[in-house]
Symmetry: C2
Subunit: 186 residues, 2 copies
């Protein structure tokens, strides 16, 4: 893929919908075996989807991604993305929340942990080396505009095997709780 010409993308800053995307990816519950602490066999909701603009996967190019994390919970655990490290460990990511409410869970391979709240107008900087997962703790879609170096790559395997340092669940009176895991069992 050669260097593109300048191009424009229309993003609805209220709904998060993006025009002109080259990729649209959907993740249903059945695409995420073992991620949630429970997986009802009788339903397969759409958990999230994302839209991306293609650029060459090269150092210096930047991917634009809009994700829609649909509201809901699986047995009390809020809808979340798979989460990933960047395969290229020097690559960061910026998330700008366009609408909705949520939490961005983060962690390093060295055991550092973090969680930052997401709401309309909050951007979160995910430094190199930090895995990241978004969680929708509200009752509306969580819309995020994400930008990352096009040569970042995605390492989903480490998270699929080890999970994140915390789960985000529905607490009493509807307040979300970030509950650290005590061991590696999830």
């Amino acid at each position: 893929m050669s260097n593109p010409k300048p191009f424009a993308t229309r993003i609805d800053l209220r709904s998060g919908l993006m025009s002109g995307y080259e990729r649209h990816t959907l993740r249903r519950l059945s695409d995420m075996p073992g991620y949630f602490h429970a997986s009802p066999a009788d339903e397969d909701p759409l958990i999230y989807e994302y839209f991306e603009r293609d650029v060459p996967p090269e150092d210096g190019q930047i991917v634009q991604n809009v994700s829609i994390l649909h509201p809901g919970a699986i047995d009390g655990e809020y809808h979340m993305t798979k989460g990933h490290y960047h395969a290229n460990r020097r690559c960061s990511e910026v998330y700008l929340c366009l609408s909705g409410r949520g939490v961005l869970l983060m962690q390093t391979r060295d055991g550092e942990t973090g969680a930052l709240e997401l709401e309309r107008g909050i951007s979160v900087y995910v430094p190199p080396g930090w895995a990241h997962r978004s969680v929708n703790t509200g009752d509306q879609p969580l819309m995020l505009f994400a930008l990352y170096p096009a040569d970042s790559g995605h390492d989903y395997a480490a998270i699929a095997e080890q999970g994140f340092w915390a789960r985000v669940i529905q607490g009493a009176e509807g307040h979300p709780l970030v509950v650290p895991r005590r061991d590696g069992s999830g």
Copy 2:
């Protein structure tokens, strides 16, 4: 500067104002000698300002920048930024317009030219190798959220010397006109 911890930034998606910035830079007319086709000696308006979050200037890190290009014109030429190439020629940039109306002028060292309209919700991808200048053609501030690799660097000199391929001026009935220059004289 060591790798930062994850951090959040609040950006007003209506006004474009950013919290928690480390750098605030102002550009008055007197900071831009020779950029406009005329420079009234008796006034020195604030043309634009920008706010940035500091990250290490390293490959893989991403700078977040919010710019406010104030409305107005200098002898019929709309307020604009200096414009620059990235010193690191493999580095791109993404501009998301949060409010206002304008034009992003672009060009390469090989003589390719481009211009894309900016309005709320339009993002423009500036590929590696393309110089870029924003122009406010509206009557409100033009607010842009820009993201670029932290090792991009800025080459202002080439534009200061050669200018851009076009000027954007107030046409009849208030419609902006993108007027190509016939020679290198500006």
